[in-house]
């Protein structure tokens, strides 16, 4: 992953800089970054190496190297628990929540960024303050609310993927709206006003001018929303049943009363992580630019 941001922005101390970094700086940097890399990669190493070990290796004393390499865990994970189903559930829930949350946040942020209207301050403050509420505060009432709505209308929210999607999409919404307001503010107003003069409607101006100019911010928000939904545990463990269980809960199925299949747990962890990590690293440059404009100002 060569750093694209590094190439595209001016560096603070270029070769023309009057001063080379002092030795103390270089040495402390070398030591610090080496230690930190070790700390960061240690669990990744454990995950990868243990996922290739036979069961007796992960049940006994830890060993740095497997006694014999095996891909058995990668085959067994699909039958020990219905991993494919959990995978599908996670994909549907996180994907839908992301798409909806980004769309809704784009509209809301556009309204806040481009229009003045009564109640704007109240809206932004309310949205922002939900960020500080502990999830546990919503869990119980939401649980009761979904059950009651289900009893009253027959719409099954509790235990369904729909209920989980609804929940997740509002969790990423406040952060998304907040980031996008900042990002839209950084798109010059003249651009969309010119579009309006040229005969675009407000939505035309939004989709033809503002959204294309704000792609990094929108990608950053989408990545955040997807990761939040993919990794959430609390609501997933209370609000799902056998059929709708997501990966976050499903991974607990590898420990039984008698055995903990650590090699399979590590293999499954790796399998569910690879798509997210790969996507994240591919999109990371958007994340940094998106955060610069949206959140940091």
């Amino acid at each position: 992953m060569p750093s694209t941001v590094a190439a595209s922005r001016p560096q603070h101390r270029t070769p023309t800089s009057p001063m080379a970094p002092p030795r103390s700086f270089l040495w402390s940097r070398r030591i610090f970054l080496t230690l930190l890399t070790g700390f960061v990669l240690l669990p990744v190493y454990v995950m990868v190496s243990s996922s290739l070990k036979p069961l007796q290796d992960v049940s006994g004393k830890f060993r740095w190297l497997p006694s014999g390499l095996t891909i058995r865990p990668y085959i067994d994970i699909w039958s020990t628990v219905p991993l494919a189903r959990y995978f599908m559930n996670s994909l549907v829930v996180a994907g839908t929540a992301t798409v909806c949350s980004v769309a809704i946040a784009v509209f809301a942020a556009y309204a806040v960024s481009r229009y003045s209207f009564r109640g704007k301050r109240v809206f932004t403050i309310t949205v922002l303050s939900t960020q500080m509420f502990p999830g546990i505060l919503f869990l119980l009432p939401l649980f009761l609310l979904y059950v009651n709505i289900g009893n009253a209308t027959g719409i099954a929210l509790f235990g369904s993927r729909g209920g989980l999607i609804l929940t997740y999409l509002t969790f990423s919404l406040p952060f998304s709206i907040w980031m996008l307001i900042g990002y839209f503010d950084s798109v010059p107003r003249d651009l969309d006003e010119a579009a309006l003069v040229d005969g675009c409607g407000p939505l035309g101006a939004l989709f033809r001018v503002v959204v294309p100019a704000a792609i990094p911010g929108i990608v950053a928000v989408a990545v955040y929303a997807f990761m939040a939904a993919w990794g959430e545990v609390l609501f997933a463990s209370v609000m799902t049943n056998d059929a709708t269980r997501t990966l976050a809960v499903g991974l607990q199925g590898y420990s039984t009363l008698n055995d903990v299949y650590w090699n399979q747990i590590m293999a499954a962890s790796l399998v569910v992580s690879v798509p997210v990590v790969a996507g994240f690293l591919l999109l990371q440059r958007y994340l940094v630019t998106g955060l610069t404009a949206g959140a940091v100002k």
Partner: protein, 330 residues
């Protein structure tokens, strides 16, 4: 920031459908009174359904004696007035005592975790401000803990902290001989440090990311001017980089604080439904009070108390930092 533009009065177009956009308009700002509300409507409805209504219900529940017998129809649960709150803050009683203990654990855990995350994240970002070989690769590596799904990462740590077959005991006891016998990491007093390690490992890349973004906003002329005046690198970092990061840090520290304080996923995956006493974070504690001992009323009262505490802390923090900023501007 948004005082009304000079546009009161005349309504250019009827509110409602986007088609109305074709109505008469002036150059400059076009006002459609209804449009912003229409754009906000989906967000408002969802916020209402999933945040505001549940919050009201949660507050109402905290005044009720809500046990599992009333869960089907919680409206019929007997009224208990301030009973749940009294129980929660009665620090001589078992419930209040446990809550106070959990609160103190959470506070010290949060302060330590946020401090370490900030320190590591800022150091890494500042060290990586310049280009050097392998910088791009390192940055990608450093973002891995942030990108990994929480449960996958925490489960791996749980494996590493196992008593018999974990890496941590293997290294500390078998290889380095630092401990007399293998320690327990997921029960007992050590669990606090295990939790802290995982939380810092998972949390510092976010600080790194934000500080890195903040560093891009510092004009390089500042560094050039300082270098011409003979300021060394360390001095530049101390006098330019760190002060310029202040507004970024104020947001960062607040967000880290709130996220860490409310974190449920990490302790839940590491310890399960009930955390060891030394690492009994407040969100797990409330979860247990509600869903394990089936006392939803008390759980709600604790949640409301927690919310009040966070509101006060956030309010005070915002007040102090904005005052600090005003003083700096003056």
């Amino acid at each position: 920031m948004t005082t009304t533009a000079p546009e009161a009065g005349t309504r250019a177009a009827p509110e409602g459908s986007p088609g109305a956009a074709r109505g008469p308009r002036r150059t400059g700002r076009i006002r459609r009174i209804g449009l912003p509300y229409l754009l906000l409507l989906p967000a408002l409805l969802l916020e209402l359904l999933v945040h505001l209504v549940p919050m009201v219900i949660g507050i109402a529940m905290s005044f009720k004696e809500l046990t599992q017998f009333y869960i089907r129809d919680w409206g019929t649960a007997p009224w208990s007035g301030l009973g749940n709150y009294k129980l929660s803050v009665d620090f001589d009683g078992p419930v209040g005592e446990a809550l106070l203990h959990s609160f103190l654990v959470t506070v010290s855990f949060t302060l330590l975790s946020v401090g370490l995350c900030w320190l590591i994240g800022t150091s890494a970002a500042v060290y990586m401000q310049d280009t050097f070989r392998g910088r791009g690769l390192l940055r990608a590596i450093f973002l891995v803990p942030y990108a990994l799904p929480v449960y996958a990462a925490v489960i791996t740590w749980a494996f590493m902290f196992q008593h018999d077959n974990g890496l941590v005991n293997h290294v500390l006891h078998d290889q380095l001989h630092l401990t007399d016998k293998p320690s327990f990491w997921l029960i007992g007093d050590n669990s606090f440090y295990a939790l802290l390690t995982v939380s810092v490992w998972k949390g510092w890349p976010f600080a790194f990311l934000i500080v890195m973004a903040g560093l891009q906003n510092i004009p390089r002329e500042l560094y050039e001017a300082a270098a011409l005046d003979g300021a060394g690198l360390w001095q530049q970092i101390r006098r330019i980089t760190l002060p310029s990061l202040r507004p970024v840090n104020q947001v960062l520290v607040l967000v880290l604080f709130l996220w860490t304080f409310n974190d449920f996923n990490t302790p839940y995956v590491l310890f399960g439904k009930s955390a060891p006493e030394a690492a009994d974070l407040i969100s797990i504690h409330i979860y247990q009070a509600s869903f394990v001992t089936w006392n939803f009323g008390t759980g709600s009262a604790m949640s409301v108390l927690l919310l009040l505490f966070l509101l006060i802390v956030t309010g005070a923090y915002l007040l102090v930092t904005s005052r600090g900023r005003k003083a700096a501007d003056a």
